[in-house]
């Protein structure tokens, strides 16, 4: 039984999301215009609910929601603690801005008769991602991840042309990933006999030396790694980001990517726990080095790209590598904080960058870096937003990206891993190198037209808002107020510092 209404909210977000998705499908038969407003209103409503959820979690403790009233090891349980609530807010906030941005962009890029289906699938995608974030059951995570992934395949393919093959590649790789995850769950289920995360964690405590658990861990890691585009499992990602419609790229790079990064963190820390990692610390120590390689290689690959969307896609791989680097130093609180902080920072910065690029594509159709010359005169606000987001991704203080790198650097110092510190600095320089190409084209080259042409307000507003947030969030983290919250989130992950 439920004590306060707020405890209903996590489940309500997922269920009403699915409910409204299919309402859109019916109402789309009557009127095509109404679909967009339903998605917008429902997602905004969900965002408000998620804020209440976070407030409840912070004041009254974590939420345990038993579906259908069945007790946990048997029924499906939704658990919301600090980390969940934080990720939920990030996802719904970026989803909301993405939907606001989508309206005009989609009207231009997609045929009108496909719009009801598009918004249905979009709503399903956001509900699926929310479900992945709030669920406390590993099998339920699989189902909701599939809901989100299938929606993503459809949304990428809606652009047609090259997006079809990109989507198909993602479908095959994504399905292999989810199958690996399912197989991993199978192994874990065989030894523990449970699917509930908390229950599994307790039973696994005595089984860390069991070979089935090792296999399960690796399979789960690889499966979610492919989904989250962790280097070197990222191969589907650049194509998918490049050829998808702008609004879909915006939502994928923020909502979907962060969902699976969250799932990775949750599975590693809340199911397998730090003790398991410490038992096999020699093997686990390969992960930070792999991420070091990822940061350098993906940055160089980004430098070689001409297509600006593809460049940003490689930059996403670098940022996911930062997050995984952060969680791989699990003994340092700063390093873990850096990983958690980057979930929001990267979502906001990359959301802003993709929104700005989407706006440029909407107005001018430019996709290559070389063709951007003199755009700052033509579209001053959009270019300004792109500039700020790029400075954030580089990590200029006091932007949000600086905080990530600052925390990670302190973490590396704490772990006395100076080479990794050098790699982070090198990564920053490489980021500077490839974004400088864009900035040079935007601001220091003469264009052929100086007439001002801005995108519609519904596209400009989310872009500018995200640009402002890039700075505001950086300053907010630097004030030190949220440190207590970050510490709580890390403890809620199950990490205990000595």
């Amino acid at each position: 039984m439920i004590n306060t209404v707020v405890e209903q909210f996590p489940a309500l977000i997922v269920t009403t999301g699915v409910f409204s998705a299919f309402t859109i499908l019916i109402l789309g038969l009557l009127s095509r215009k109404i679909c967009y407003y339903i998605v917008l209103i429902v997602t905004a409503f969900h965002f408000i609910l998620s804020i209440f959820t976070l407030q409840h979690v912070l004041t009254k403790g974590r939420i345990h929601y038993w579906f259908g009233g069945w007790r946990p090891p048997w029924g499906i349980e939704y658990v919301v603690d600090e980390l969940n609530a934080y990720s939920l807010i990030v996802i719904l906030f970026l989803g909301l801005l993405g939907i606001i941005f989508a309206k005009r962009s989609v009207e231009k890029e997609i045929e009108e008769r496909k719009l009801p289906t598009f918004y249905t699938v979009m709503q399903l995608l956001i509900s699926g991602c929310c479900g992945v974030v709030v669920t406390g059951d590993v099998f339920n995570l699989f189902v909701l991840a599939e809901v989100a992934s299938l929606s993503t395949y459809a949304l990428i393919a809606i652009a047609g042309g090259k997006a079809l093959r990109a989507s198909y590649n993602y479908l095959i790789l994504g399905s292999i990933a989810i199958c690996f995850y399912l197989l991993g769950i199978g192994f874990l289920y065989a030894v523990t006999g449970t699917l509930n995360m908390i229950d599994m964690r307790i039973i696994l405590q005595n089984l860390y030396e069991n070979k089935m658990v090792h296999v399960g861990f690796v399979l789960v890691l690889v499966g979610l790694g492919i989904k989250a585009a962790v280097f070197p499992l990222h191969t589907w990602q650049p194509d998918a980001y490049t050829y998808a419609p702008s609004a879909v790229t915006l939502i994928m790079s923020t909502v979907v990517a962060k969902t699976f990064v969250y799932a990775l963190i949750r599975l590693i820390f809340s199911v397998f726990t730090v003790n398991f990692l410490e038992l096999y610390i020699n093997a686990w120590n390969l992960v930070p080095w792999l991420m070091g390689v990822a940061i350098i290689v993906a940055s160089i690959l980004a430098y070689r790209q001409n297509n600006i969307k593809r460049m940003l896609a490689y930059s996403s791989i670098v940022n996911v590598a930062y997050i995984v680097l952060g969680i791989s130093f699990f003994n340092s609180q700063w390093s873990l904080s850096g990983a958690l902080v980057n979930i929001l920072n990267h979502a906001v910065a990359k959301g802003c960058a993709f929104a700005a690029v989407g706006a440029i594509v909407y107005k001018t159709g430019i996709k290559d870096v070389g063709a951007l010359a003199g755009l700052a005169n033509k579209m001053p606000y959009t270019s300004g937003a792109l500039l700020i987001s790029m400075l954030t991704l580089i990590g200029i203080p006091p932007s949000a990206g600086f905080v990530t790198k600052f925390y990670l650097a302190i973490g590396c110092l704490e772990m006395q891993n100076y080479l990794m510190l050098a790699i982070i600095l090198l990564g920053t320089l490489l980021t500077l190198a490839y974004f400088l190409r864009v900035i040079e084209q935007l601001y220091f080259r003469e264009g052929n037209s100086t007439q001002k042409e801005e995108v519609p307000f519904s596209m400009l507003a989310p872009t500018m808002f995200l640009a402002i947030l890039c700075l505001a969030i950086g300053i907010f983290w630097l004030t030190g107020i949220p440190l207590e919250f970050l510490k709580k989130s890390i403890t809620s992950m199950g990490v205990i510092f000595r």
Partner: protein, 137 residues
């Protein structure tokens, strides 16, 4: 000696079958050039996983305990009286969900393949890549 190995191998033959099916599936998914064959490989892979899960639920032939085969998970008085064990129904239910998900994935993939075929007139991956290169952006 050989008999013992033989017995050990065939005691869990369904798991071995699952392993073989999974590897055939992964091989087809990775190695085949035709996009449709990749999808078939994926389906084989998924089937292997389903077999693995269902084998988990089975508690096998319990002749060593002198009980006999496990019964289906249905409440049935005579079976209970004789102390029969029943197979675990949970993996079956999970796999029912898994099959639905697999069907949905297959359907989306087939729809994509139809559109790819309309666009390029072929399903061979290298030919599609060539055509893409010719068309440019």
């Amino acid at each position: 000696m050989i008999e013992a190995i033989f017995e050990k191998f065939f005691q869990h033959y369904n798991f071995w079958a699952a392993v073989v099916i999974i590897f055939i599936g992964i091989y087809a998914t990775i190695a085949k050039n035709n996009l449709f064959k990749k999808l078939l490989g994926l389906n084989i892979f998924q089937t292997g996983i389903f077999l693995f899960f269902i084998s988990l639920g089975d508690i096998g032939s319990l002749e060593t305990l002198g009980i006999g085969d496990a019964t289906p998970p249905i409440i049935w008085k005579p079976a209970e009286e004789r102390g029969y064990l029943y197979v675990n129904p949970l993996p079956h239910v999970l796999i029912l969900t898994g099959i639905v998900v697999a069907a949905a994935t297959t359907c989306v993939a087939l729809a994509l393949l139809i559109r790819i075929h309309k666009e390029y007139g072929t399903l061979e991956e290298d030919e599609i890549i060539e055509l893409e290169a010719i068309r440019g952006d």
